[in-house]
Subunit: 523 residues, 2 copies
Amino acid sequence: MRQYVVHEVIRRTLITNPDQLVVSGNTRLTYAQLYERVLRLANSLRELGIGAGTMVGVLDVNTHRFFELHYALSMLGATLHTINFRLSPEQMVYSMVHAADEWLFVSDTFMGAVKPLTAKFPNWVVMSDDSDYPLPDVARAHRYEDLVSAGDARELSTADKVQDTDIFSIFYTTGTTGKPKGIRYRHKKILLGALQLFHHLALHQTGARIDSRDVFMPLVPFFHIHGWGMAFFPAYIGAKLVLAGAAPPDVQAKLIRQEGVTALNMVPTQLHMLLEQPDFSNVKVLTGGSPLTSGLAKAADSRGVKFSLIYGGSDQLATAISVVPEDVAPDTPEALEWLRVGMRPLPMVEVEIRDKTGKRVPHDGQTVGTVWVRSPWLPEGYYKEPELTAEAYIDGWFRSGDLGVFYPNGGLYVADRERDAVKSGGEWIPTGMLEALLSEHPAVGIVAVIARPDERWGERPVAVVKPSGDVSADELREFLQLKVADGTIASYWIPDAFEFVDDIPLTSAGKINKVALRAQFAK
Amino acid sequence: MRQYVVHEVIRRTLITNPDQLVVSGNTRLTYAQLYERVLRLANSLRELGIGAGTMVGVLDVNTHRFFELHYALSMLGATLHTINFRLSPEQMVYSMVHAADEWLFVSDTFMGAVKPLTAKFPNWVVMSDDSDYPLPDVARAHRYEDLVSAGDARELSTADKVQDTDIFSIFYTTGTTGKPKGIRYRHKKILLGALQLFHHLALHQTGARIDSRDVFMPLVPFFHIHGWGMAFFPAYIGAKLVLAGAAPPDVQAKLIRQEGVTALNMVPTQLHMLLEQPDFSNVKVLTGGSPLTSGLAKAADSRGVKFSLIYGGSDQLATAISVVPEDVAPDTPEALEWLRVGMRPLPMVEVEIRDKTGKRVPHDGQTVGTVWVRSPWLPEGYYKEPELTAEAYIDGWFRSGDLGVFYPNGGLYVADRERDAVKSGGEWIPTGMLEALLSEHPAVGIVAVIARPDERWGERPVAVVKPSGDVSADELREFLQLKVADGTIASYWIPDAFEFVDDIPLTSAGKINKVALRAQFAK
């Protein structure tokens, strides 16, 4: 019987789309050529002793080699540790030691920065277009392209032994506090979760409705849930895949135009940067990871950039996606607003918003609670962290730590992380919702709401604003009063203070750095 | 953890589409109302002792009650035997005894015909809109609607105990010869197979590309692989579902117009009958089960009826679907031809065409061989038939008994059943391919090619033609000579004889009755 294992995804391209292209830098490979490289690589790796359960760390941007490694390691039954290069150097080493990486595959993009690792890790494979790229001074070191050249192109006998319940990969989350947490993904779960996301995109009226004629470019790095599943989906339907490597936004925009890219994924910060390129237009974008402001949504819309918002994460995988409800006409301002804020659980996913006693809150578009998720692809917990696992994975459910509300029509709005929300007089004030409302003001550029300790209320909100025009604290206060008057928010949500700044600090992942803001303004 | 079990499919509608409709005869239910009826029914059935593993036979056309039973029996962990009413009465009883049906759910449509069964089966539930419908004289008999009224609307504790590897249903294939064969479907496999079919329809350029705003009507009966999966898919995405019960084609056409139906499935015979209705137009049709003639394809196209062809069956589930290849422009005559004959394996499905020695044949669009299939949803074999199972299910593959060819671009054409093909001089002549070619002649109405025993060649083809205009055997012979000249077929494919008839006999399933034709013309 065939199973949902990763390397089975790509085999169909040999029949249906052998000449379709994977483009990566100056490399242009057909799926047929790429599959042969995967077989050669896998046979060479097998000679090196890489097999069932071997932990293999990969440190690379989105290239064809990282893409190939997904399929080669799957055939061997090895575990792919997609090393999170957005972690601090110290945290990155922690994750590699915690996962117990036996082999490291490192691209030349990262070789300069990771030399200190040579003392800790003895087995290296260097990935570079340069066939003379110097090897590190370790016990065993190889060049990736030499392994591809040396390997046989025959099918691997190990490939049919891999079970869909076997571990395929491991990933360590950033975590703004504490040490990184590892999450292991089984073949079946990582595939079903990723594929459901794209299936749902194809089934619904969304801004980013896709089909098999699209040309895909993941701008989410492969390390992060395999580029939100884009390491699998184009191969699964035999579509053209374009990989941008370490290209900056202007080169990305050029590549999108040159290769006819039509469907991308990225976090909002990347979307913001691409919209600064004059020739970025008329594509479909799947985005998420932080709220989309109405300013960014309108800027995208005015350039013909259609989008959908995703909700999920490395510890729950894909959960919800923004769609235009059936009773709303597509391509209207109302539809755009739904795509920006109104998500629906994916088919087979159950989402509940619960209060602190564990009771489900009403679907009234007002009552904020914690998002709980249940799905067929929910991971089992944090690797070698039974206590952290027990706190978040409860009775088949995942307690997300996010705050959300349900609208009467089933639309889900995820407002905030609990740790970022303001708890005032025992009630949650979701800062993400406040930020979204404030960003509707024409003179607000970027806005972040943080909690300031308060003797009477416990915490009170403070808005840190980077203005895009002339605006005062009184004006913003009045602006929010209108939202109180029309019933959108309660009056106690209005921030006690508005701080105006020249710039808002971002984290390495491109999100607003609230830790830094709290240090400065929440005293 | 949530699993791929049938009743999980419908629960999401409570959040996303509680007011969406299921229409069945004079009954109009929202998903919220229907879900409550399912709970009430399931709780009543539990009181009757129906639980994990109970075999429940259901004999009904496509109604809301049959639809509800899918979900209620799933919650109980019972097994749904979808009784094939196209079997002969003798074969039907054989299937019910072989499956060991403990309870029978029979709609009033069938009550007249099945009274002889009362001696064999003691436990009955009668399904009717008539609250006084007479109960059969058996040990235990109930009315379905009484059970719904009497039951509690609470969630079932058994529902979370059902595993995705449990058996959900059993079905007995017609089989033109021999006794019916039972195939059991596990929850996960029946769902993944059915959903993949619709996902693929949504992802590709096909004539029948669907989305969540479609209104669905299964004209394939629920007994046949759950209406080719349409007992699940509309609920899975929260779409409107319209059930036609026992309505004849003119009433079906009226219902399609009245309820705004946009997406249907049916066998080609049903399509033919609907196209005879003046007001049947502008819908999407998924069809299959027998080849689509170019005449029928053109008739559909001229009415704005877009279609895709499916390949699969009860013993392999969904395998392939016709799509417009990426290098062919949609809505062209070439695209139409691909939709009629050129299928692609579904993602995750592997198809091989093998010769009699088991070797894969070249993908040259010419070499005919047997279709072998491997997929994650392949059933394990025939229920309590180890020998028949061993003949067809081999090393994780299913040997389909169908003849097919692969085109160089990955297009799959399934030409014929092996048992219908003509074996001339040791070579297969696929009659389906010959029929398709002959049906392109403007004066050919319906055509069937059968094998006539031949001393020299073993078998030789004979074409039985129901003409739609003036045509002679010589003309048809010359017509096929052109196809020999352009390399489409070999010269020995040309039938030895052309027999002209006033009508072509059909089986109860609406396929051409080749057994009857052979009895008349193959002597």
